[in-house]
């Protein structure tokens, strides 16, 4: 009747992390954030406040931005989690950064970098739902992510830029499909 492994107060959790199935044995009171950083060594996800106010620990859970400090480890059983480490994409010349990551670099949207992983995942969640957001919609989407360095302007610029690049990539893909033999398939 209970799905928990009770031996020695350890909890077995299996979920999809960055596209791969993982299984961890962790403390029953661990948060998703603890599993990512301590059990799996993925320290790209940051802990800021630990109470859902700062957004530094933002990850995607089934595609939605959530604070991983407010999710218990056992709650992700069977679900899909994406962290900053999972955004890298395959390219013809090897792995490359996600367009949102590249735009943050190009638009100087990173200073100390502590808020950046969470900020980027909030942006990825936004662009998946709304590929052409207004600046106001961008500000709304990152309203749960605090940045104490940039003043946000460069971050909003970066997300706008990422939106343009994603649209261009999509248009490129479509053109590739429409004209077989012109670089569509490698």
């Amino acid at each position: 009747m209970r799905t928990q492994e009770e031996s020695g107060r350890r909890l077995k959790v299996s979920f999809i992390l960055n596209g791969r199935r993982v299984e961890v044995l962790t403390r029953p009171n661990a948060r998703l954030l603890d599993v990512l950083r301590d059990d799996l060594g993925l320290t790209g996800t940051k802990e800021g406040c630990g109470i859902g106010e700062c957004g530094a620990c933002t990850v995607l859970l089934d595609g939605e931005a959530v604070n991983s400090c407010l999710v218990l480890a056992g709650q992700v059983e069977g679900r899909e989690v994406v962290t900053i480490e999972g955004l890298e994409q395959p390219g013809p010349e090897g792995p490359r950064l996600h367009p949102v990551q590249q735009s943050f670099i190009d638009k100087h949207a990173v200073q100390c970098g502590f808020c950046t992983p969470g900020m980027i995942l909030s942006a990825v969640a936004l662009l998946a739902k709304n590929p052409h957001p207004s600046r106001e919609q961008i500000r709304e989407a990152i309203s749960g992510n605090l940045c104490r360095c940039t003043g946000y302007v460069s971050i909003v610029d970066a997300i706008e830029e990422a939106s343009r690049r994603l649209a261009a990539e999509l248009a490129g893909d479509r053109a590739g499909e429409a004209r077989p033999g012109h670089g569509g398939a490698v």
């Binding site: 109470i51 859902g52 959530v66 056992g74 709304e140």
Partner: protein, 290 residues
Amino acid sequence: MRSFDFLRASSLEEALCLLAEWGSACRVVAGGTDLLVDLRSDEGRWPQLKVVVDISGLAELKGVRAEGDRIRVGALVTHAQVADHSLLKEEVTFLSQACRTVGSPQIRNRGTIGGNVVNASPAADSLPPLVALGAEAVVASLRGERTVPLEEFLVAPYRCALAEDELLLAVQFPRPPRGSRSCFLKVGRRRALAIARLSLAVLVTVGDEGQVEDVRLVPGAAFPMPRRARKGEDLLRGARPSPELLARVGEAVAEEMVERSGLRWSTEYKRPVLAGLTRRALAQLLGGEN
């Protein structure tokens, strides 16, 4: 983080069995946006805590359904879902507006309407619209199911009428009459992640000749728990709105706050702000000067 065991309920029946078995040694987790903050603090709420029961997978507690002249919102429906739900946006606009002001996108993606009700914060954003709608809490235990009017269910700050072995299944409310209008206004220290300093839910029905047939005024973070401000409502019911009348209603609502909550450090600020908020919300719905 406090120490506890994690149990996942895979059916409603299993959840109710676990609650009956563990009683005060158990807390329920869904979105976790309030519970995990409490479990990290050293203030020692729930000293007997041994297990946390995860109900987030229970299909019986999900979804929004229109059942005849009632709407039922499952306890696990998130603030983001309420904010984006087409039926709710159309028929109970102020509930969607209120849920859209909760926390941040991340909080709205996790936090649930059931959690907001059970946590029973005097400043909870979804509660003023729900009280204005005359909502009921639908709760269940192995002993059976019962419905409790929300005004009774919300007993005191951070205390609701849920017994140790009970689980909140849904909130339900009558569909407002056609032609009714509603809005939710909130004053916070900033736009995102702000706990309401004051809020106001207004639901009005206007007759063919412009008279106010019915009105519900429910301020948040003003009374010990969200309740209808009946003195202000009585002034407006049956009357034709005028700027002078709306101003008087605003004063009456603010007076009722002082009567019920007493003079507090914040009264000097809250009294004129609540009067102004009321006047502005009514003007927005009924037309006229702000």
